[in-house]
Subunit: 337 residues, 4 copies
């Protein structure tokens, strides 16, 4: 089978096509012929060696993918040949508390990921994505979708009437916007591009801020939110934005921080957290049960994830470069057709 | 000022117009010129003497009303002359835990209610209803609206993708349908009338059951809910329906029971609760903070309560009779114009 | 190996010793040499055919047991030979939501249970009980212990200062008393025997009521609870007691109902639930993660379950008869030594 | 009446005795003859001008006090002459959500505080402290006690078996230790003094770390907590300790940050929060309903707050200097006798 793997050392130039032996499913496992994958910023960091510099190579990157079950091992009850399934970000985290072991079971490092024509995964590490979605749409869900769902729903207790601040137009932010709308919440969106803000508005945002033109955008968001501040911030941009987020949030509000971002190593002033009674929640994507709960909501509301652009599998490096450019709004996908 | 009061003894025939001295606001109180009121089943029971047979008479009934502040007492900070305000069901329950004292502070018994041209209430016992609503629409909120909000949101933890069963087309049920839709949930509605089910469908229900034609409607609802059962039931009909609700609900699901209904004295088999791990929650309308939280959601989503029919204040007894007939869908209101 | 099984038809007289082939562990399974078991009222009902009359026979009853791992199958990571482990009530419910499939995976029916010298169970269906406990003490935990923990902690949100009402001196009630004390809560206990109430007092109860001498004991409990009512009731006795429980509980309080009891089929008046805003929660024992959470609390507090009496394995029928007599306080156990 | 007030400009040297006219209670207010007060670090910062440099002077400092009601205004129902009452930190926050208005209503700035022989407060701003406490013990509760209760109970969902890390031996930390013990949780305590650690051990800590001798104490705490990390940290020391706390906490654990501390302006690395899925909660003391809930727990468990030393009211400045020295363990109090 064909795969893409990081060869020799880290770096986008070392993401190369390779041939591996076709895998076969063991007991409790399924063999999937991949149809689509999607990229996350974590995948770029993995390829560049900034996510986990100790990751052994070669590695097949990417955590998100959708395909068709073509063979099942002994004792498999959760899928049948012919089923369309998506991978879960944490292979072994079905439900319950996060533990070190569960959190280590991620695809795309340390385990080989979805940039492969065939994949073997345990039957507990798959879900059936909503039927109304295309393969590419379904492939956007495992990391960005579940992260946004957890931030707002599992941790945030999102309610109609809440005001949610999303930053930029990456995958998690657009999912957060869509889930907020689904729950009857209002969204304040930021971007550096008026064109993107126009598209975000079409997706249902309530207020938009061009942060290039407004370097006090945190305060602006606070004012827009009835002068009281926003209820939730989905924080994706690192420390520079975090200070603005702390200005935007209301007393007693919450900020969910998404991992694996460029500015994540920066430092944060603690005082505003104290004085506003704010909750800062580090996000860990989420378990399979959250994924399934999200799928149900997506199906019920016939929601469609936003796919910015689809590259053929053979152009995977181009997809990585495009995503790194930041030109996208929503998700960048790969198709195996 | 003109009022309607229960005179002499209980009974709809004893709901009579009367003249009382105009009240004046004391310290911390506001004087409201009423513009609209709405009826709840509890008000019918109060007038008929079945809600609280020991209630002293005369009593001005009804808990729900909207009007304009025409005078404020010393120290009032929560409203100004000219504000449009709605009454809260429990005058003294601002937030926090329900206590006996807070639960006793209800309008329309033991306190005089909203069927009066002028009302004096403490400033903690009012809210500012959503601006986009007509007076009659705003007057539907204090009891039915807050009850449905509490059932699904505060107690139920309603989420997108959940399946909600509502029974009949009374005020609470229609609010529950609207809030469920607002949160991206699916609604199964029941009625004895296909015409009403058609109107409910226009309001956004997902599945409808005519319970006249389907005496196993609880099981039907269970099947419709993907064969797993519904997540929440908003139970308004007493013991006969409760047995069906217990068949409809999923393992680990919840049933909110609305008080003050005809069948409330009936008896319930405990076994299905046990075997399904079901939660049965008695509902107590809700506090002012819930009311305000609901108002924010209604405003954000420009939701409009369903007003079935508006009677002039002078025809209050006709409104009670109409409501008792059960012909309505949504709320029956009075206008003071 | 020797086992006890229900042979031919239901009834305590048909609980008979038998010989079965020694089982061997498959992949992901462990073989346990049993050292102790404990009885629950459900086991009596199972043997008598009142729990699930359709249960195929023969069946090895009992869900609770402790033993030593003597062999492990391929891929087992959760236990090693020599480990002391306890069975979980639901073999397949590790964490997350209860589902029909998870709830069907119970030992002692439909699956063979713990009255066997050797048992094979999947590695996900075991826990390591607290080390300071004897085998018999550890064997009391899987059903009664987890049920009481779930009632008060997972569902009840138990806090220091809460007042808990427990009924009688069976396994769940005594565990509830001990957990309530562990959390700094106060306990009102009931029994028909002053001797038992004396022993309950030694275990830390705050108030005791002999319900034989006080047929208004619900009201008495309400009064004792500062005239406000108790926060939680752990309801084990069926409908007769449930009416008293509804009198005992405070406004907004909660009642957890334990399944599988004699009076469970009786009927309940709904009105008090409504008028007091009470929550009635059907209990489903609980998942493995709850069991582990409970174990941690038991270890930290060096708590010791109350073992009333230990019978040798060969006297299993006598243990059932003793438990049925109701003479016990706490748990009735079997020892395989 | 005699008071202590900050005169002219900030600074401990400007905390001076003064004479003011005896106040009288208005409608809804009570007049309290103070018997005891307690100090918090915030009070030192207030006097020194670092808490709120814009605070107008003169100001009577201190938020915590206990006294006897000697007169009540019209309409007062929550207290009678002769009652012993304690002040609440936020005069207007009875229950429900924190709002800007509620959070501004603090005693000891902007409102005059408890260093006065007589005080007038609204009846909603008092509670009845547990009867078994001395006046000084009762005076320790309003700020430190409620803060620790909120950190662990309201926000932390504290359970038996949890492991709690407390830092140093100030008021909040000692309360946190006592509440953790009350709930059956284990405590790891830190101090720079072996003597203090010995006393903390007598109060029930499970493990102690002298952070002077162990500059990797965060990692040490992680190891002590079964190698998994602690469940809750009550963080009182500012940014230097916060980095250690982030090393100590388990995946998915929580850190409550107490405001108003010296190091609060420092900066924090965000990355560990992300990678461990940690929750950081800014603490705002708490509302009256939390105070009452805490009181009930203290009464039920006959818990006694730790009073380090009592100064006479006339020596208030000495008490401030003593507290600033950091020599105390628990609370520093004033007596008005």
């Amino acid at each position: 089978m064909k795969v893409f793997e990081i060869q020799g050392e880290f770096g986008l130039d070392n993401l190369k096509p390779a041939e591996r032996a076709d895998p076969r499913p063991g007991a409790g496992q399924v063999l999937i012929r991949m149809r689509a994958a999607s990229l996350n910023y974590r995948d770029i960091m993995t390829v560049e060696g900034t996510y986990n510099p100790k990751q052994p190579l070669p590695l097949i990157p990417c955590s998100d993918g959708v395909g068709e079950v073509v063979e099942v091992g002994d004792g498999v009850t959760r899928a049948r040949v012919g089923d369309r399934v998506a991978t879960t970000f944490f292979h072994d985290w079905v439900s319950g508390m996060p533990t070190r072991a569960r959190l280590r079971s991620t695809l795309g490092g340390p385990y080989d990921g979805t940039l492969a024509e065939l994949m073997v995964v345990g039957q507990e590490g798959i879900v059936h994505p909503p039927e109304h979605l295309s393969d590419e749409e379904a492939a956007t869900l495992p990391c960005s979708g579940v992260t946004a769902w957890n931030a707002l729903v599992e941790h945030g207790g999102l309610r109609a009437g809440d005001i949610v601040l999303v930053q930029g137009t990456g995958g998690v932010s657009i999912f957060a916007l869509q889930f907020a709308r689904m729950f009857g919440a209002l969204v304040i969106a930021t971007s550096s591009s008026d064109d993107k803000l126009q598209r975000v508005r079409e997706l249902g945002s309530w207020q938009e801020i061009n942060y290039r033109e407004d370097d006090g955008w945190g305060k602006t968001a606070h004012k827009l939110a009835h002068g009281v501040g926003v209820d939730h911030v989905v924080e994706v941009g690192g420390a520079g934005t975090l200070e603005q987020s702390l200005r935007a949030v209301r007393i007693g509000g919450s900020i969910s921080i998404i991992g694996a971002l460029s500015g994540a190593a920066s430092r944060l002033s603690v005082l505003p957290i104290l004085m506003q009674g704010v909750r800062l929640q580090g996000l860990l994507v989420g378990c399979r049960e959250s994924f399934e709960s999200m799928n149900r909501a997506i199906s019920s509301n016939q929601m469609r994830p936003v796919v910015d652009r689809v590259f053929p599998f053979s152009d995977a490096p181009a997809a990585f470069r495009y995503m790194k450019s930041g030109a996208h709004l929503g998700k960048v996908c790969l198709s195996f057709d």
